[in-house]
Symmetry: C2
Subunit: 143 residues, 2 copies
Amino acid sequence: MRLSEKKITASLKRHGYKLTPQRRAVIGAIASSPDHLTTTALYQKVRQDHPAIGLVTVYRTLDILARLELICELHAGGSCRSYTIAAPGHHHHLICADCGEVIDFSGHYLTELEARLCRETGFEIEGHLLEFIGRCQDCQRAT
Amino acid sequence: MRLSEKKITASLKRHGYKLTPQRRAVIGAIASSPDHLTTTALYQKVRQDHPAIGLVTVYRTLDILARLELICELHAGGSCRSYTIAAPGHHHHLICADCGEVIDFSGHYLTELEARLCRETGFEIEGHLLEFIGRCQDCQRAT
DNA sequence: GCTCTAAATGAAAATTATTATCATTTATAT
DNA sequence: ATATAAATGATAATAATTTTCATTTAGAGC
């Protein structure tokens, strides 16, 4: 279950951040897209509603949202970093190596492994990222 | 089991790439480090033996090696991209959120999940990346 | 070993992504 | 309504990566 826009703004306020129109616009843009978007893509999307917004503000907002774990940051091939609304505890992606499509899937397959790694390495594990790389149906056909 | 330097150079030749001293130096540097290194870190390491090498050549070599899947590319927090010798089929990392230490661990925990995802989504899965984010023992103590 | 040629290199410039600075504006507690 | 700390946007700075291009070189063929 993805976080709602309302929960996100509530969490921002709870943490003492002001709720500016710019922040609302960024949250709106990210919440209304099912996909992972890069900072630049998001900037362009936000500007449709809010032409005066600065790229820097988008960066700053994403930074805050990611710290609060309200959005999910994904690092992948080439030009790094993209974001999507967080689905708490789930960071499971299926990424198409050709077209870059990202599908999220849910599941808690890793609890046991996580416990074992804690024991064996002394790491304190905070989260995980599981990505499968492959080719989506469309790109398979396109070959 | 990590790929040996010899296997890497053999694969390069097999694919029609020339074996230049620069490429040997980059391969040597990456093979002799147990850690993930960023391009810049690697550049500095290579320059100890080969002071005249250009940063561009390091980029180019890493690019080729990554394409041939002879090294493993890791995208993680902040200043992206680091590399280590590939251990075919294993892309399992334990990353410290504080100091950035990366520990590789082995295991084949995902085969079953992978099969299920193929069935359900029609993706053709080529590989995966499993990262646990947490804090290593040193950084836990440092708090 | 010597020659030739396509491939590789390195210097420099160009792009792109991200972060810092700072004067101005604004959300919100009072 | 007002005061003020926080947020914004323009600009500049930094960092990471890629492109360009003239020069050099690995290695195939003799």
